[in-house]
Amino acid sequence: MKTSVQPPKWAIDFLEWFCPDRLFECVLGDLLEQFENELELYGERKARRRFVWNVVRFFRPGIILRNKFKLKIINTIMLLSYFKIAIRNIRKRKLYSFINAFGLSIGIAFCILIYLFIQDEQSFDQFHVNKARIFRVEEKSYDRWSEDKEYPYRHSAYLQTGLMQVLKDDLPEVEMGTRYNSGGRGVFRYGEKVFTEKLTYVDADFFKMFSFPLLQGDAEKVFKDKYEAVITPAIAEKYFGDEDPIGKAVEIDVNGVATYTVTGVIQEAPANSSFSFEVLISQENRMFYERNINQWGNYSTPTFVQLTEGADMKQFSANLDKVIEKYIAEDLEEWRENSNLPDDVKLLELQYSNLSDIHLNTKVSWQKTSDPQYSLILGGIAILILIIACINYISLALTTSTARRTEVGIRKAAGAKKGQLIYQFGFESIVLALISMIIGLGLVVVFLPSFNEFTNKGITLGGASISGLLAVSFAVTLLIGLLAGSYPAFFLSSFRPVQVLKGGFTSKLNAVFTKPLVVLQFALSAFLIISSVIMYRQMQYITAKDLGYNKDQVLAIPTQTGYSKEGNKMVERFRNYAAQEPSVISVTGTNSSFNQGWSRSGYEINGEQKLAYVYVADPYYVPTLELTLVEGRNFDPNLASDSSALIVNEALVRDMGWENPLQEHLNWREDSTGLGPKIIGVVKDYHFLSLENEIEPLLMTMNTKDAGFQTTMLVKIDHGNIPESIDKVRSLWNELAPDKPFDYTFIDEDVAKQYASYKRWMNIMGLSTAFAILISCFGLFGLAGINAMNRTKEIGIRKVLGAELMSIFVLLNKQYVWLALIAFTLAAPLSWYVMDQWLADFKFSIAMGWELFVVSMVAGLLVALATVSYHAIKTALANPAETLKYE
């Protein structure tokens, strides 16, 4: 050798470890040769660095896989032998293996489900080819009603109807644009077939921008005409059966019936799409389109644009500012002056989000957004369950370790190194984890439909996701195997052969290790128990709370008339029709039912801006919902002046600070007196909003003068035979309006829908809790069994000496009660904190009293006791003659 400089020894060892023997010599030779050359070129340090890097580069499948598994450390034959021993051990201790496999498989199944959930969340809108160039334009506007005075802004995706054309005309970056309004249902008629369908309003570019393939029709030509419709295959099938839908004329009722020609069939949007549609028609057909198009300040239309390739985003932002400047600056200044808004704040700004980001953006209101927190919570639950399962594995392995000491002793005496034993035990836990993975995958297949229901998703297995899924489950499995197996492996392999084989070892529990583990496991379960109990109580509270009105047996039936006088006539005629029908108790018309959207109106009092919810009512509204009038009277159908009178709720009276509301007027809109409508009645506060909100000011108006705001009919039916009553209502409807479909919902169901997502969370928590408890109990059962077994002789002696059965039972259970109590003490503050956050979402929530914690604790303790009692009773009852026979 010319030089004394050598490449790092460890790098060569590493190479030797993974490189196949056959190739090692020539590879190392080449590397050394290269090293010598580079030593002259780059100097010592760099050459050494490059040597290491080059070695690492050899760590690749093309080299490693030529090994034929002749790893230096474990050779194939030993591996086979380990496998055999693992299987034998698993079969020998069936209960113990079952507990482990059961816990691990549920843990893995949970992890996979949560992975699928997160993957689905991330995959939203990712399938659009042009997704990188598609942006949603949003407005950020000054909100003087805002409760947050630090940041009084509102972010909204709803823009002025005419903005899209402005963007397309004024901004060079904008290549295409479409508005998208999902909303409203319309009557769809083809021949004899009449149903209401969900209508979606878009522009012609929609079909070019987004990757929803047109199965029939031409994306370049669709929507050239105002009266065209594009439908999904399901709608085509429903109305036309096997016939070709293209060119068919259908009648759609949007603000009056018009004939549309079907010019395209579009593939249904997948579940992970922010858009959904059934019948697409042109934006121009939207209600008040003509009126809204030039009206700045009327924000109702989400707008998407596709930018040109390589568009400069800075320029785009600047151009959006210019749009505001050009079209609306004057209006904004006027607004600022009229309302005394601060001079220095920007009142309105246009911003944008990339299409890929809108699903997880909860700041801007949009249908189908989702809080990324959900993914975190679900992930947290999965990890909790995994930890519980791993603890089972560790504590059971440690407590059964006595049984395996002999094996370890013999292996060591026969020349096994500590490292080999670690590999053996580690390998064993990986085999068990792999078996669990297979069961876990099976569980995923079984549970996926219920999981979808819980999470309101449409996740399917298969397709492109399956390889990722398998990779993740495999990785999780290996991780669990290593995590759960490493501690027992190190522990078991550390036994000294001389001591073990001499036979003088004691079979004591490794209490120092197992007790903290059991406490941790129990604390995690206790956390889940307390949380689910609180969630359950809150849901119960919400469903049982007196809302101030009677929501039972009230049907909400849309009049299918839109805002027109016809709606009021429909309600009127239906009421007259139903007068002879005993199963219909009462009929009223309103502008919207519960949970079906609201309108709010502003009014000014003493220079202060206030807002109130507006319900269009009639004289039958109060009795139908059984509202209580605390002052004044209901609307009177015979008093013409009532058409401009108001009934308000107590919240509004409080808000206004009225001493005597019946003397007051509300200058809510113009009327002949110049004072605004007169108050004729005050209703007791009732929860017309969900319980997440306070009871807000509300006003009811008869509004017969303008007419045409009764779009929903509320029908109270007899509580006797409900299906029969509904049939009666249906037949009345069909007589009265044979051309309109009969859609109805029960308002109590609509109200319950407001809490659907909370209910789903409660279900998920409940299910996870059940599994967590089950897994912990299995672990405890195993532990208690081993503990009891170790103490059989002690118990035998105690019995011989005259111990009572009860005292033995207490003796065996005492420690678990202590452990459970400690665990609860640890878990309670954590659950209190987390649940406090959850309950903060509700303006009306239960108080977290100590009794809830006590109930949870007692329940947990009972479960734990029931679990360990089996062994305690068995041991206590055992005949000492049997147990002490061999002593």
């Binding site: 050798m1 010319k2 190739l23 010599e25 020539c26 590879v27 190392l28 030779g29 080449d30 590397l31 050394l32 040769e33 290269q34 010598e36 080059n54 580069r57 050899f58 690749r60 093309g62 080299i63 030529r66």
Partner: protein
């Protein structure tokens, strides 16, 4: 001849093995590619490719002499087999056929 696909890099390495003859071992090929093609390649990539070519039967290998600079390690010398040579010829012919089909640029078109 069996239709086995040969990647661009595989073809390059195979050609180098043919060119270098008795001197065809890992490092020499790296240096040759660097020298003639002005292209940086990693030693490990060349090794893996050589083994893959050996699997396919286009090269065979034998252990050569050791030198001090290699710390006493022997070289693995690769030689191109008849199958490898045929493969290179076949690729060349196919390419020429395709080349003839390519319309030649005429100044008139520009």
């Amino acid at each position: 001849m069996e239709k086995t696909y040969l990647g661009e890099f595989e073809e390059l390495v195979l050609t180098m093995v043919g060119i270098l003859r008795e001197e065809a071992y890992g490092n020499a090929i790296v240096n040759e590619i660097r020298g003639r093609m002005e292209r940086e390649v990693n030693l490990s990539a060349v090794h893996v490719t050589l083994y893959r070519l050996e699997d396919k039967g286009y090269v065979k290998s034998s252990m050569g002499g050791a030198t001090a600079i290699r710390g006493g390690r022997r070289k693995r010398i690769f030689t191109i087999t008849n199958a490898g040579l045929n493969m290179l010829h076949a690729i060349q012919e196919k390419r020429m056929e395709l080349w003839k089909l390519l319309p030649q640029l005429k100044f008139a078109d520009l």
